[in-house]
Amino acid sequence: MDINIKIVSEIDTTIGYHYLAHEESGGHSIFIGSVRNSTQNETVHELFFEAYESMALLEMEKIAKEASQKWNLQKVIMHHAVGTKKVKEPIVLVGASSAHREACFEACRFLIDTLKERVPIWKKEFFENKKVWVTPHP
């Protein structure tokens, strides 16, 4: 299986299919996360992302390999942005390709769910009058 993993300053949202396409793949599932204009009813102006880059890359690679053990995939892509991101700007792109659609859908969901649980990247939310590191409670 081919894996493409990157920490970038700008996510290129157009390349998902180009990377995932494979002659054995009939299905390609792509998820893109972006900044939305509010969280818990408060207006968000921008987000700032910080990564422990060496570890984030290793952790994404582990997640991609776990996905390829759970499902029969041809390719996996995981890109995450760092720095300041405004509303509508993409933050993360993950995707997987497989012969049939069930596997790529489930794998894609696993990639983003597990990335959010484990990859050492931190988000600071900038509201009108305050900024806070998001520290999810379990």
């Binding site: 422990y52 290793l58 995450h80 959010k116 050492p120 931190w122 520290t135 999810p136 379990p138």
Partner: protein
């Protein structure tokens, strides 16, 4: 030895990197190191989770840390 801090942990500690000289005795187990850091910076103990990365991999509490290892404190992650 140097410990890297990220996100809210960096704000609590006040910098991204802290050098510990004689305050911590190496080798030390990960669990004991975490306890030392929380004693030094009590606000770290109020986070919903706190992990240690040893050479860029998540470490378990029983692993041993030497002064040559790259250590990072991982507060609750919030990527994606």
């Amino acid at each position: 030895m140097r410990i890297l801090f990220f996100g809210i942990a960096k704000d609590i500690v006040g910098k991204a990197t802290v050098e510990f000289q004689n305050e911590i005795q190496f080798p030390i187990q990960v669990g004991a190191l975490k306890a030392e850091l929380i004693k030094k910076f009590p606000a770290l103990g109020e986070l919903s989770s706190l992990a240690i990365a040893l050479n860029s991999h998540y470490a378990t509490d029983d692993m041993s840390v030497s002064a040559q290892d790259e250590i990072a404190l991982i507060p609750p992650v919030s990527g994606g």
